[in-house]
């Protein structure tokens, strides 16, 4: 009866190629001592087990203290998989490192921003590493993916609850209790008092902001820079504020 059924099966499409921008957690590798790396990773994961559960990650080589280090990618992949992180590629690094990664099965990913597209031509990559469809490199506006990844929470966030907006903003229309934890790759907006912890830009975005209507936080953090409640200027306590990073330091501005 339907048009679908009347068609021969061969002409029914089984797949389509589409571009898309997907948020990924970047694991910035700073050093190459893998046993130490594994210990530190274990501690990090214990702090927020759900956050890391089978999350895809990109290994970012741009922050290596010794940029020319040779990395044992096979071992690195093994450690990550064992810790339930799924490495999907590398970012940056020297051609030799990229080649070694490709041998271990990790493609080199291009960054989605326009600047890097200009500076890093696709031709620099070994062809095998090009797993991203061209449409993705051409790129949609990042805004699209950000807005679709935003999370809106309407109920109070209780002590012991952890909410993560992967790849987007977290918007909360209720109070955030002591002992609750908010995480977002983008901004965090709280239309209520912030009494727990809020960590914006957790994948390293230094442009993320935290907004709240009453600052009573246990901890605030943007891109890893953090302040605990003791360090917050008492004059700003219980005020509506906008928190951002200014020259690498947390800046709290009353609204």
């Amino acid at each position: 009866m339907s048009r679908h059924a009347s068609l021969p099966t061969d002409t029914t499409l089984m797949f389509q190629l589409k571009g898309g921008l997907y948020p990924l957690t970047a694991l910035q590798l700073l050093g190459n001592d893998l046993p130490v790396f594994e210990r530190q990773l274990t501690i990090k994961i214990e702090q927020a087990p759900k956050f890391f559960n089978n999350a895809p990650v990109v290994i970012d080589l741009q922050k290596l203290h010794q940029p020319s280090t040779l990395i044992d990618f096979k071992k690195l992949i093994e450690i990550l998989l064992h810790k339930k992180l799924i490495p999907v590629g590398i970012k940056g690094g020297l051609p030799e490192q990229q080649a070694a990664a490709a041998l271990a099965g990790l493609p080199t990913l291009q960054e989605g921003t326009k600047e890097t597209q200009k500076t890093e031509a696709a031709a620099e990559l070994p062809p095998a590493a090009l797993s991203i469809p061209p449409a993705e490199i051409a790129g949609k506006k990042p805004v699209d993916s950000l807005s679709s990844n935003s999370r809106i929470i309407k109920d109070p966030i209780r002590s012991g609850q952890q909410i993560y907006a992967r790849g987007g903003d977290l918007i909360v229309l209720a109070p955030v209790s002591h002992g609750a934890e908010l995480l977002a790759d983008g901004n965090i907006h709280i239309y209520g008092p912030l009494r727990g912890r809020a960590l914006a830009g957790v994948s390293g975005d230094p442009n993320a902001h935290i907004f709240c209507q009453s600052l009573e936080a246990e901890l605030i953090s943007i891109a890893g820079q953090y302040k605990i409640s003791e360090d917050i200027d008492p004059a700003l306590w219980r005020l509506p504020v906008d928190i951002s990073l200014d020259a690498g330091r947390l800046h709290i501005r009353p609204l």
Binding site: D155, P156, R158, S159, G160, A174, P175, S177, G179, R195
Partner: protein
Amino acid sequence: MVKPNSKVIVVTSGKGGVGKTTTSAALGAELANRGYKTVVVDFDIGLRNLDLIMGCERRVIFDFVNVIQKDANLAQALIRDKRSENLYILPASQTRDKDALTREGVEEILTELRKEFDFIVCDSPAGIERGALMALYFADEAVVVTNPEVSSVRDSDRIIGVLNSRTRHAEQGHEIKKHLLLTRYSPSRVQRGEMLSVEDVQEILAIPLLGIIPESPAVLNASNQGVPVTFGAVSDAKRAYQDAVARLLGEVVEDTSQKGWKSMLLGGLRLFSRSAV
């Protein structure tokens, strides 16, 4: 047949010592006073207290765990209160621990109880472990007992989060009704800034207020004598529990507990005239 209006109410708090058992007994007794067939179930396996608070400790033969393990049937384990024919208790075991509770076992017992009783009040143990999770899993409504101090409020907040995610209703996508019951409230200590006010607690917990039970010697006396507060002599605490039950049943009751200190401030005359009557 399960009674169509039968309700399972969990009395919980996260923190220990805030008055869960006292409240379970008082609410159960008042529901029975009003003619509802009510059973209070002690989920605190290993730390049995409800029977003491309700004054039937010498009549415990079989308990919750015996019924789960089919060593006894439900009728054998239920104890009828001597003061009200509508009130029963299902005591906990003192010799076992919380691992004896299985979800299937608890479900089976609650389903049986729903056939007989209008209200099943589950007295939860403290904590957020197995015993507490079992007590709240099948609940239709929850009474969150909170003292006006920060650690109790934070634990209540935690348990509200658990109620929002780990009940059967929550798993099916429905929220259960949660009521805040403030206990051991002392308006004069709030005045002196030694205690959180009702407003402070409500602002943090953001659930409807069922009642405010004043700090009262009547509560301690009741516990020591094994008489639920609402079966005892007239007292401010008894009145407050009666109001709480009225609200639980959907009645609109004026808040008198807060008036205490306001009337004291605004005019001693009213207090005098009241005591003269």
